[in-house]
């Protein structure tokens, strides 16, 4: 009874509550749901929007590969990944990951793992558009994201 991840890449916003409900409805074996929501943030008040470019086809394929690896590594009852593309103003949702399991540790680790690899392997790129109208610029990848992803390689040699 293998779990199939639900992966969606879309421009419209998502409903985290509805996605979580989908993983529990009609079943009594789910003890833990960990949900991660990533939002467009702007502490300085200078950002008008993030524009998310993606590689159609590969975005879905790569997210499905990462999700399938999470399902292989942890005993999950369900796993959902939704990533938006297009222009997203500050305060709006960008990405949703929900991991469901009988036990909380599996749900926490799977959601954490998924976000780390999504950041470094899923083909999405952010461009910043400023309120001032000044030339927009591509967000640079952070080395801390690579380090976050590497955490899972150290403990992954038994798979």
């Amino acid at each position: 009874m293998s779990v199939t991840p639900l992966v969606r890449v879309q421009s419209e916003d998502f409903d985290a509550q509805a996605e979580a409900a989908r993983l529990t409805e009609g079943r009594k074996d789910v003890g833990a749901i960990v949900s991660f929501t990533g939002l467009c943030r702007d502490e300085s008040g200078t950002l008008s929007a993030l524009e998310l470019e993606h590689y159609p086809g590969m975005a879905e394929a790569e997210l499905t590969r990462i999700a399938s690896e999470a399902i292989d590594r942890w005993p999950l009852t369900g796993l959902t990944v939704v990533h938006r593309f297009g222009k997203i103003p500050p305060g709006e949702n960008i990405v949703l990951v929900i991991a469901a399991s009988s036990h909380r540790r599996a749900a926490f680790e799977a959601a954490d793992f998924l976000m780390d690899f999504l950041k470094t392997r899923a083909p999405f790129w952010k461009k910043e558009h400023l309120v001032s109208g000044d030339s927009s610029s591509w967000v640079e990848a952070k080395s801390v994201d690579d380090k976050d992803a590497e955490r899972w390689l150290k403990s992954g040699s038994t798979d």
Partner: protein, 83 residues
């Protein structure tokens, strides 16, 4: 072969994608990058920081030493910044 570009690689090359005949001597991803750089200034500028370029062959991540094989599509892009 269908070649696709994303983010600032796309902006520097100036097109989203292009269909190119691959010369006989071009066997690996690295060979193809060398060939593309020789095409014109735009391509040369796009691949200037070669270590910053990520590659996907038929929508799967690969390294520069990967064989092009029978792949129909190759994509070049900067390190990813989604999430």
């Amino acid at each position: 072969m269908n070649i696709r570009y994303f983010a600032w690689v796309r902006e520097r090359v100036g097109v989203e994608e292009e269909e190119l005949e691959i010369p006989g001597g071009v066997k690996t991803v690295g060979d193809l990058i060398t060939h593309l750089k020789s095409l014109d200034e735009n391509h040369a500028a796009a691949f200037e920081e070669e270590e910053a370029i990520r590659v996907a062959l038929d929508q799967v991540h690969v390294e520069a030493d990967a064989d092009l094989g029978n792949a129909r599509e190759i994509a070049f892009f900067p390190p990813m910044t989604g999430g």
